[in-house]
Symmetry: C2
DNA sequence: GCAAAGTTTAGGGTTTACCAAACATTTTTA
DNA sequence: TAAAAATGTTTGGTAAACCCTAAACTTTGC
């Protein structure tokens, strides 16, 4: 049993941002890029990356940047799954457009339980892409019936 | 234009708890009761009530307790509306039972925008009670069509 | 009117998130 | 290749939201 990971909302945003850079775009996430996209001082980014490194979610190298570890990738995927399932819900049920769905999903994704997300996933027939066509990662606990 | 109110999640929980005591049950919410239901030290409750008083959301009297102000009631109703609309969603869409719906709603109600809640409300035909039969307060911005 | 119950104050503590300024490193370019 | 520019880190702060214990104070109920 590995130690339980507790993520703050902000840390979660870093992980998903890094996942998209690293895995989906094959680009490095530098301090400056993170600072710009979160609109914070670079010093703040360094601090957060160090905290994520302590939690073994990223491998951090001074002056170079940080890469998600295996655990970091797992956590990022969990969050992206939640985010994207919520997008599906908002588009299908409420007829939101993809952009608005993303905005609203961002506000709550971190706080939704995996259970809730799985229930939504089942209701919509286990979709495999979100409204903007990105992959929805699967969860082993989310199967037909459950 | 009145000053914008910014509520922390915890403060929101206090307001809705107090609303239920004060308006729905006509009982006073004492420090001890709040401390017990939130499982914190009474000193912590005092502190939070004082903060809510500064924000003019409650009228606080030392050694007596606190009562929601008009503004406090408005805020509590907004939150209860969000909570109850979410309960409707979870019961109708996901077939959750009332208790589970309440639990999941509690985790995210504070973070959901009024817009999102209104869209859900419209989708379910402006329900006026939640699964446990409590009133769903209306929002003037939530009308047929909108 | 006094003791018990309830409440507040005083004084701390932790965590998350920020920032500016000084300093260190890396990269670019003249 | 050396110096300038860009990038990143450290240091030392700040602030807010929560939370606690212990001591002091107020209210209540007998």
């Amino acid at each position: 049993m590995s130690a339980k990971i507790s993520l703050t909302p902000k840390e979660g945003k870093y992980l998903t941002f890094m996942y998209r850079r690293q895995v989906e775009e094959d680009e490095r996430a530098t301090t400056t890029i993170l600072a710009k996209s979160f609109k914070v001082n670079p010093a703040t980014v360094t601090e957060t990356l160090q905290r994520l490194a302590e939690k073994k979610l990223v491998a951090y190298t001074r002056y170079y940047g940080a890469k998600l570890t295996e655990r970091g990738i797992v956590e990022a995927k969990k969050l992206l799954r939640k985010h994207r399932i919520l997008e599906v819900l908002f588009v299908k049920l409420l007829r939101y457009d993809a952009e608005k769905a993303c905005e609203e999903a961002s506000k709550i994704d971190h706080y939704c339980s995996a259970d809730l997300i799985n229930a939504i996933c089942r209701t919509y027939g286990h979709p495999d892409t979100c409204p903007c066509n990105k992959k929805i990662f699967s969860d082993s606990k989310c199967r037909r019936q459950a």
